[in-house]
Amino acid sequence: MAIPSYATRGERIWHTIFLGICGLVFLFLIGPLLVIIPLSFNAEPYFTFSKAMVTFDPAGYSLRWYQDFFTSSAWLNAIKNSFIIGIASTLLATVLGTVAALGLSSRYMPARGVIMALLISPMIVPLIISAAAMFFFFSKVNLAQTYVGVILAHTALGIPFVVITVTATLSSFDTTLIRAAHSLGANPTRTFFKVVLPLVTPGVVSGALFAFITSFDEVVVVLFIAGPEQRTMPIQMWSGIREQISPTILAVATMLVLLSMLLLTTLEFLRRRGERLRGLSPG
């Protein structure tokens, strides 16, 4: 932020203080995530920096917690479950949500506000309430402690994200492009694949990513309705933290931070591509 040339001396001081405050807030936001990365390479089973680590003695660092992770059948099984449940519920949420978003962005959609509020509600209702309610209901209809039950529950939780991102993409969609394509001689199929799809895809994919991360990170519902066969990564972490937090959890945490960096980069890439396609930025 540039300081205007007419700024007084007091303002300049204030401006510096302001930047300092912002710096501290950024440190607060990002610092904790950075602290655990080196800690996960600790050779000792402690949660803090050992003397050897501070002095950069190579003996203070080791990969043993990563090794622990990759040789533990419980963790590997949990990862597998997380991916099975995450991918299945993402697919379901993306298909249902995208189709619904197409309807919602129609000019003629009746009771749009109410329906939208309803579709977003799984994001707003506290997870513990959804989890308790689903536990009662899914037990009754034989879905508790099954993969199908967990997948359906996570689909419900992921849907708002898909609906929000896809409707946002569609609302900025310029319908004259379709007419332009038609007038230039493209048939409807060709128009859909060559014009509509490329413009909508970034929104659908980022909605799907949100849905996936929601499922991948979800503890409470799984805690209530999953059986031991559906133990996911977050559950494994949760019980680990509650009992004794071994540094293996820090190794997992580090890998998850890297995963979120990857997702974030993908999302940023999609956003830029979307803007470029819509001609919003010179790209």
């Binding site: 009754k140 508790a144 031991p228 009992e243 004794q244």
Partner: protein, 369 residues
């Protein structure tokens, strides 16, 4: 680990001979998968070694261990409500078993019909210790709630030894880790306050007694860290986050002998209780053979090689030998061993069945003050 396996194989070799008669009896039995619910950790491991491995070898059955005993009653209710009971056998506490039995969630058991006689022919109803056989329940172990301390945190010539010491911040300073429930804490508070062991529960039925227990707990409240998972107390003691911790005696034993931790158990005023099997409704035919096997004299004695919980059969006590991994003598580590047992208190399940709801709410309110 290898040593255990070798020992296990040798041992099985011997027992297999003795079991051949039984093996013939069950040979008609088709291979199946048994879903068995237990407590996890060292305890499940001991069951796995003592019961499951020989059983799987003998019958070819597959055994799936599920660590859900902490929430077993909720799980049974949910499954029975759903009409889809997936658990075949559940390890739970007698107090929970009483409730589950009254709700019809688990099968009533005819113990003399179902269970094995002692080697000398004593029927189960006489061979099991008092209170081990409930309407729907058969105990396998006697375990104990005790307070342990880290001996490194006290001078060698002044180590704590009684339950009063746990409440004595002046002479034995340091944090205490206690279970975040009224059970055991209320009993210990009264005993430490001078109430006679035999009168503890009668006292707790009165408002005055409850107040007295809370008043005693108040004296250490600021120094208490409350734990909820059985794995926490040994961890907290090992990290020296606390000086004392209430715990299940088996967990402390494991930390002492296999991890060489400097822990000592205060056996004074141990609150002992039983733990054992219940059969979810409709599963009796499927698991009766396994149940017969897993509760016989030899199996219960074998289990004591892996964890310091006392067998619930009198006939097993004589067979208790040494710890499988370290070879130390197990008898002195058992809750039922004479000197340990002198001032023991048996948990009153009927009392807790009635007052747990009320006292827990009161306890939580007291905690959040």
């Amino acid at each position: 680990m290898k040593a255990i396996i070798r020992k296990r194989v040798l041992k099985t070799g011997i027992t297999v001979v003795g079991l051949s008669a039984l093996a013939v009896a069950v040979s008609a039995h088709a291979q199946q998968t048994l879903n068995i619910v237990s407590w996890g950790g060292a305890y499940s491991m001991s069951q796995h070694e003592a019961y499951d491995k020989p059983w799987m070898e003998k019958t070819g059955d597959e055994i799936v261990n599920i660590d859900r005993s902490g929430n077993a009653l909720a799980g049974l209710r949910a499954q029975s409500q759903a009409g889809n009971v997936t658990w075949d056998l559940v390890d739970m506490l007698p107090a929970d078993a009483m409730i589950a039995c009254a709700e019809g969630l688990i099968e009533p058991l005819d113990h003399d019909e179902l269970l094995a006689d002692a080697p000398d022919g004593t029927p189960p109803s006489e061979d099991f210790v008092d209170g081990a056989l409930g309407d729907c329940f058969v105990a396998s172990i006697v375990y104990s709630n005790i307070v342990a301390f880290n001996s490194d945190m006290f001078p060698e010539d002044d180590q704590p030894g009684t339950i009063e010491d746990v409440f004595d911040l002046e002479n034995y300073p340091g944090k205490r880790a206690l279970l975040r429930k009224p059970i055991n804490n209320m009993e210990w508070a009264l005993i430490a306050d001078g109430v006679d062991r035999d009168e503890v529960y009668a006292m707790l039925e009165t408002e005055e007694g409850v107040q007295r227990a809370f008043a005693k707990l108040d004296t250490i409240k600021d120094e208490v860290i409350w734990w909820e998972e059985g794995a926490q107390p040994p961890q907290l003691l090992a990290d020296q986050e606390v000086a004392f911790a209430s715990a299940y005696n088996g967990r402390i034993f494991n930390a002492m002998v296999t991890e060489d931790q400097p822990f000592e158990i205060i056996w004074d005023a141990q609150v002992f209780e039983l733990d054992g099997w219940v059969v979810p409704t409709g599963k009796l035919d499927k698991v009766s053979d396994y149940l017969h096997f897993a509760t016989d004299t030899q199996r219960l004695a074998d289990q004591a090689q892996y964890i310091s919980y006392g067998p619930a059969r009198k006939s097993s006590s004589e067979l208790v030998s040494t710890h499988a991994e370290t070879g130390i003598e197990m008898t002195p580590h058992m809750p039922t061993y004479g000197p340990n047992f002198a001032t023991a208190l048996q948990k009153d399940d009927l009392f807790w069945a009635d007052y747990n709801d009320e006292l827990t709410q009161r306890f939580n309110a007291w905690l959040s003050q």
